[in-house]
Symmetry: C2
Subunit: 744 residues, 2 copies
């Protein structure tokens, strides 16, 4: 508060400096503007008039702007303080291995505390009423030119204010300052979270359970949305009967609530799974479901909103409008999916053409020719920019950026990742990890804060209780029946304990919050927002705290770190695993389960997962492995061997010379589709771990006999791979700590 500094800033601030965007620093603050800064916009280009006689008013405006800027900085500092506190506390928790409270839960608690302080501790500074009325024509224009004694000022529309709130607009500066524009969550905080989820989805167990995951995510979310919507409609009827509901609440509103509350976010559960090395299949089911149902929920909710303006009598059922909504759902979803996948493929192509890492060599190892071979900084920057452009491209085309970013992340992990140098791989991972971490904890601490600082809460006990019951029933109504039907097709049944665990893990998080806060204009939406906030609080705390007891109560296997971790390859693994999920980055040497053609299907185990190795999936896999991988990455068989001979020239052009050069087996880090029965047997099977594993690992459960693949990989490679498979399996065997029988 140095007076000299003030004076200088006021001077500099004359023209542009006093603008609200001043405080819009790195990453997120910008949208604070949306709500927070309405009082701040000083005469930005009035510098031209600096020599005019109206210097006094300008000084006033500048001082206001200066003051507002200071408050903005303070409010941002509040959030940084919150995040810092959270980080420091997590630290202690991790040191002491405290598991009953996850960092997100912690962030919420700190947010709550600061919210209470802001709410009741700061004086209501409704002193300066800067507003001014001016009655006008029939519609609101987005831009206003105001003539003030000869000078023209430009104003932009901020939004409508309900007549009742006219007096409370300037109610409490500090509370308004800490209230962000809802779009912050959608456009700034969600993309890194979702991209990170997609990028780290490269899990062998994810693809193994792909069918089930898709069923849970698509069918499950739809069922859940429908059931919750209908139940809530009943609750709303009840509220109207007892006179608790004063405003309108349509059936579509109920369905909308069903859609936003169906996006599960078991981040706390997965963190504990990760730490305890709980069952990988359960992990994959939960993680995959939550990632995909975020995308489903987002598109579902916009389809439901699109249903509304069908006719004049907008809230009756209209078959045409219904099918239009379904069409919109399919259109947006497939459009966003395509957009994300295409950008991912383009990035892969660029990286394929440009990045030429020596396989198996780290940049740090290549001393002499470093500058020739890899520039991790450039790779990382390009990767970041291309991922961001996916979001923008989708938004520019009218699709959903968040969904596009998810599929972009998955594609990047599948193709581009292979073309990056080792150095860049860890860099991109780390970059998105930090962004994800900060964004996620910011959202959760904001949630805590919002419970007290958000000024339009509508607490309706009946609705809240009804919602809790509805989400419980809604989840039960899709987990159990779906599991039943899936078990009909699955070789490895989803056991009762897994089903109960999935039921239990249906907590709500960032996506539900972002969808709910997006629109809090109407009474119904405010009620939904308040209810969503409470649901997030309780599910995060209760489920987060109850996961460890639940795991042991349900007899779900957990593993602990055993001495085998000390071997060389595990170190590499460990490196990536710090703070990330368990089998995200399998050690390069241990996991190269090559596609072994020649070795027939069903040869050893005979019991492969029929459900997952359906023909469509197998077709896609062979296409991906034989054509896409060789074109987009430096791995896979040379195209010259997979394409028919008449395509010889084309094939030679498209194939990377490195594919030929590499006599050693390629490090296919993402051959995650390929499942050895041994691995499966181990996870679900009985106690004869090593024996079963060694026999099972000879089985390539994904047979490629249908493809025209020639014998490009030699028998030695085959043998080596199998040996590695054995090693992997046996080392994995030591991880079983509770050798309990599955009820499946």
């Amino acid at each position: 508060m140095e007076p000299g500094g003030d004076a200088a800033r006021r001077g500099l601030g004359r023209a542009a400096r006093a603008l609200p965007p001043r405080l819009l620093l790195l990453l997120l603050p910008p949208l604070l503007l949306g709500r927070g800064l309405r009082g701040a916009a000083a005469a930005s280009s009035s510098g031209a008039a600096a020599e005019d006689s109206s210097a006094m008013e300008e000084l006033d405006t500048e001082q206001e702007a200066e003051e507002s800027h200071r408050q903005d900085s303070v409010s941002l500092l509040t959030f940084i303080l919150l995040l810092t506190l959270t980080i420091l506390t997590i630290w202690l928790f991790k040191h002491r291995r405290v598991r009953f409270l996850h960092e997100t839960g912690l962030a919420m608690i700190y947010g709550l505390i600061v919210g209470v302080i802001l709410r009741y501790g700061t004086p209501a500074t409704s002193g300066h009423n800067k507003s001014l009325s001016c009655t006008q024509e029939d519609r609101a224009f987005s831009t206003l030119l105001v003539n003030v004694s000869g000078k023209f000022f430009e104003y932009t529309l901020k939004g409508e204010i309900s007549p009742g709130k006219l007096n409370s607009v300037e109610q409490n500066d500090m509370l308004r300052k800490v209230t962000f524009d809802p779009e912050v969550f959608f456009n700034i905080l969600l993309p890194p979270i979702i991209f990170h989820a997609g990028y780290s989805l490269k899990k062998r167990h994810f693809f193994r359970n792909l069918g089930s995951i898709l069923a849970y995510a698509f069918l499950g979310t739809a069922v859940s949305c429908f059931i919750i919507g209908n139940l809530m409609y009943g609750v709303v009827k009840l509220m109207k009967m007892v006179g608790q509901l004063s405003d309108k609440f349509y059936y579509t509103d109920c369905l909308f609530f069903g859609a936003i509350i169906s996006a599960t976010d078991p981040v706390t559960v997965l963190a504990i799974f990760n730490e305890l090395h709980a069952d990988v299949d359960l992990y994959a089911l939960l993680f995959g479901e939550s990632v995909l149902n975020d995308a489903v929920a987002i598109v579902l909710s916009s389809s439901i909103v699109a249903y509304q303006p069908a006719g004049l009598n907008t809230h009756a059922f209209d078959a045409a409008a219904f099918f239009k909504s379904v069409g919109i759902f399919l259109g947006i979803f497939s459009g966003s999916f395509t957009m994300g996948a295409v950008t991912g493929v383009v990035t892969a192509l660029i990286s394929f053409l440009y990045f030429l890492p020596l396989p198996g060599h780290d940049c740090a190892d290549v001393t002499k020719f470093t500058k020739l071979h890899c520039f991790p900084l450039l790779e990382t920057a390009l990767f970041f920019l291309m991922s961001w452009s996916t979001f923008l491209l989708a938004e520019a085309c009218g699709f959903t950026g968040v969904v596009a970013v998810l599929f972009c992340g998955i594609t990047q992990a599948h193709y581009t990742y292979n073309n990056l140098s080792v150095e860049s791989r860890s860099r991109t991972k780390q970059l998105f990890e930090v962004l994800h971490f900060l964004a996620e904890n910011f959202i959760f601490s904001y949630m805590g804060l919002a419970l007290f600082t958000f000024q339009k809460h509508v607490f309706s006990p009946i609705f809240i209780i009804g919602a809790f019951v509805a989400i419980f029933l809604g989840r039960a109504a899709h987990i159990y029946p779906l599991s039943f039907f899936l078990n009909l097709g699955r070789r490895h049944k989803i056991g009762w304990n897994f089903q109960h665990m999935m039921m239990f893990s249906g907590l709500r998080g960032a996506m539900a919050f972002a969808l709910a806060i997006r629109d809090t204009a109407s009474y119904a939406r405010q009620m939904m927002f308040t209810t969503t906030l409470l649901i997030v609080f309780f599910t995060v705390w209760i489920v987060g705290g109850g996961t460890t007891p639940m795991l042991s109560w349900l007899n779900i296997r957990v593993g602990v770190e055993e001495p085998f971790e000390e071997d060389q390859n595990e170190n590499h693994w460990q490196y990536f695993r710090v703070g990330v999920d368990p089998d995200q980055d399998p050690p390069p040497n241990n996991d190269s389960f090559q596609v072994l053609q020649g070795d027939g299907p069903d040869s050893a185990g005979g019991n492969r997962t029929k459900q997952e190795s359906a023909w469509l999936f197998r077709l896609w896999y062979s296409f991906d492995h034989n054509y896409l991988k060789p074109i987009l990455t430096h791995s896979g068989p040379p195209l010259t061997t997979t394409l028919p001979t008449w395509c010889g020239l084309l094939a030679r052009c498209l194939t990377s010379p490195q594919v030929y050069d590499n006599q050693e087996p390629l490090r296919e880090e993402d051959s995650d589709f390929i499942l050895t029965e041994g691995d499966l047997t181990l996870t679900y099977g009985d106690s004869t771990v090593t024996a079963n594993g060694s026999s099972g690992s000879h089985t390539a459960s994904m047979s490629l006999e249908g493809s025209r693949k020639t014998k490009s990989s030699s028998e030695e490679v085959l043998e080596r791979d199998l040996g590695m498979g054995d090693q992997k399996v046996s080392s994995r065997g030591t991880r079983l700590v509770f050798p309990l029988e599955d009820n499946a």
Copy 2:
């Protein structure tokens, strides 16, 4: 452009979705708002009135908002495309070792091309005039409440529009879209650049030349500012005489121009130095000067602006106002400095208390207890948050955030860096490297774009030519005299070739641009902005292209990578050096030039740099080494040995147990103050490299005989260090490729 998607979005967009902030994605776009989105603000909370009869207008507004959002996404995509192109081209350049064009110059060229396309290729879409006039009272309010047939809408002030531009407000949507709010540069793009500069300033050669660097940065910038200001005042007088100047242009304006154009940014020169391994002392002088004179220029310009409102007759000389300005300069500078340093120290304390890395151990190495010992993600996040909070804190207190961030970076590098785990060190470096890279290239490509898309250019040939002459003379007038005076005190003279090179390297970059674009309201400022832009263009291209010839013409030594790089330690070094500056991270083992007390000063060489080892500096160094380092980091001597005995209890509390545990010499990676004469002799000396080096390295040029340091480091450590010094020197000897005599 899928119609279904549109419909859905329009529906969802009803309330909040149509808001302009939609497109404000990661990092920078937000402030696009400032200028770009004025037409976009749709009725944001009018969702409450969704069921009202005015559905048609709403649809209109929503469609406008939708359209605007799409355009925003496209304009951002333009920038991403530019950056992507730049990266891909740099790649090729690096592969072919092209040095005549730096990435920043390239970014500008691409920006220029896209600017031309946007300017002449897009149609002027001045179709929909959404504005509306409304005559009003005597002053412009920052908030406006507008009553539109019973509903109230809130408007915020955007800025004044000069009457002449009233019609051209909506001139070309696309051009406006790509014009960012000037505050973007100050608040979003500069902080990471400046922080990175501070964080990578941890150079041994920087501290060796600290005195000279401070002289160039403070005195030099002031002299340059004053001379350029006066010369430009002459130019302005001349323009008035020949009738080329129509508007006001005061003496303070000229001084202001002097201040903004005095910030040098030799990023292209340093990149080439880095690549060619040019003389490290010259590198340190240039880098240090440019980093610090950014800070000086920023504060100087605000002081000059603060000078203006002194009296009614604002532009005559006023001694009181002058001293007030000087006071403001000192106040802001020292305030920002303190703020940055304090936050840095606080971060160091927190990291000292929390992070307990095993010295010399990487997280990746510690397999079993990884989870107990270091959490790189948390460390990185905390580091990022604390650095950001420095910026916010300074802004909240009315200081200059950018300057605070610079000194925060320096402090973090000096203390916090030592407490981070090895993993976190590289993570933080990489994170800020990416941010820095993206921000810098964005600024430069924006500059290229702005030459054509900025709509208020004032090209004045006389002013531009005058400015080129003035900056040349201004730089000559401080480099040569200052070097003369510095050479009086320096043992190692700054040779003529060094002086010429420094003169030549005075190019202007991001900081000058950011300062110039901050205020383009008045005619004078617009002329300055255009001139600055041209100066940046030509200096970047000419100096960037001429550096390599200049180096050989001036006979400045460059080194190339020699076989010695292949030994183990150099690999580690190499790792960090990819894309970074040369001696940023010296190898831990080779550089542990410990403070060797006992070994008297002047013993072997006898000719140490008197200038740098002045008593004040020595005092600070010993204080830092004996007290601050042990308190804030895990290195340095235990406090129990440096503090007097009566402080024993306090000392034991404050000293890290690790200091005692470490029997091996501590890796003091930042003992950069300590200069061995051997090193100096080598760089400047004659051809008896190895002999001179081995005798010289026994000299600790920084004597600490004045401090109360006890003999904590054993003789063995001493011997080992000396041995290492020898090894270092001899390996360094091979790097001399042009063994030319210095003219010094």
